[in-house]
Symmetry: C2
Subunit: 242 residues, 2 copies
DNA sequence: GGTCTGGCCTTGTCTGTACATGTTCCCCTA
DNA sequence: TAGGGGAACATGTACAGACAAGGCCAGACC
């Protein structure tokens, strides 16, 4: 059973999404909510803290909380698993391993993953049958056997690794920029060489902080975008010069 | 003076960044920290909560907190102000207004900004003299006079609006994808037509939730990237199909 | 040697209280 | 009518205590 503050957050989120609290309106005060849910003020604060972190409501000391905007925020799993995301959005997802081999880790890979050997996998993902995403993933050697055991057309690697060996992806770091399609990119994604691709490079670790994979994902332009909400209080997004 | 929990967070962050707590090591327990800082456990939890939200440390019930990684996280102001960001990174920043006019708001703009008239501004930004960013910004009519009063080569619009009329940008929503350079984009940024650009569309609001601006920013590929940390507990990043 | 169990440690959740700090709005006054 | 003062209200910070839930480890057992 979910924690009390999660239940309250879910109810409030639902009320916002269904228009009980329209955008721009004020949320009930913490005291009112505490009375309504028969909870302590601290518990209510945890609940609205979630909504604030999601960017759904804004907070200012002294003033009532304001409803900022509609829905957002996919689960971590949906972000890390292309298949889980696509299915939750109602898309028809496909994919196939195009190449897979073990090799020695380069110095950068070794530093990122902490292993001397890596498993390199090239995957092509489709939405509604159209090629959309090209994944070049490098796995740490300790997880390589589990990855090699997966079928070539495994839809959700994340799900399969969880079911198979109980691996949980817990933390991620993402670097997002735009690049030109290389010859290989262009051929596999069905676009012209040099056309724009949205690139997401990410490193993912377990709950214990152990790195699992390092990936270079390239989306065909016009197929997918990334969305982030931020505020003075919570700013997960940073800009980097290259 | 900063709040107690912010002081504690700052000290811990400093200890992590200076290697007192190396990556992969365990943080002292909440009880130890509470004793060390003569604070209640709740206060310490607020402090480490900040670090967890920044992606610096990971948390699992029952186990000690783990140090995940180095620094990150620019201030909200640095993200919203190209000039403040660039200066904090030691870059030489420049910029100029290339065009500016008032016009009627389209239906989408009217819905986003809540005004019938808008001020459209086209700005070119440079780093070390090289054109890097093309900003097409639409301001709500109530802030337009203040924007029109700025000099054409105003470095930091955000800073100028704060100094001039006390306007604070408080909340933002960002949509990031990749596009081909149009003829105009290409000419102004000094790239070939059709070459990849990193596009960031954002809408920014005040503390009261009032929309201020809607902007389409296009970065030359290879000049700038965006960075995000996330975890199972906090996932600000979402993927959207187009 | 390997496995299982139980106890201890640590983080997660929740309550209740108190005071600080900032906002809002009404009323009174000039 | 415009402006100032202040009370009422709301969120922010901090403390203290209690129990739940899960990880970790050592000692017992097979």
């Amino acid at each position: 059973m979910a924690a009390r503050y999660e239940q309250i957050a879910a109810e409030l989120r639902d009320e916002i999404l269904t228009g009980v609290h329209p955008v721009g309106s004020q949320l009930p005060s913490e005291a009112e909510l505490a009375a309504r849910y028969s909870a302590a003020r601290g518990t209510v604060r945890q609940a609205v803290g979630i909504l604030a972190a999601e960017g759904l409501v804004g907070s200012r000391q002294g003033a009532r909380r304001i409803v900022l905007g509609g829905e957002r925020s996919q689960s971590f799993a949906e972000l890390h698993s292309f298949a889980q995301w696509a299915r939750s959005q109602g898309h028809v997802v496909g994919g196939e391993v195009l190449g897979q081999r073990r090799r020695k880790a380069g110095p950068a890979e070794s530093a990122k993953l902490g292993t001397a050997e890596v498993l390199e996998v090239l995957r092509l993902r489709t939405l509604e049958g159209e090629p959309v995403l090209l994944e070049r993933t490098v796995y740490a050697s300790w997880i390589a056997p589990a990855v090699e055991g997966l079928p070539r057309d495994c839809e959700s690697v994340t799900q399969a690794l969880y079911d198979g060996v109980g691996l949980v992806f817990a933390y991620g770091e993402h670097l997002i920029d735009a690049v030109s399609a290389s010859s290989e990119d262009a051929r596999l994604l069905g676009v012209r060489r040099g056309s724009p691709l949205l690139r997401q490079r990410r490193i993912t670790t377990t709950q214990e902080g152990r790195p699992v994979e390092w990936s270079d994902d390239r989306y065909r332009a016009g197929s997918v975008a990334f969305s982030i909400r931020n505020s003075i209080g919570a700013n997960p997004l940073a800009r980097l010069a290259l």
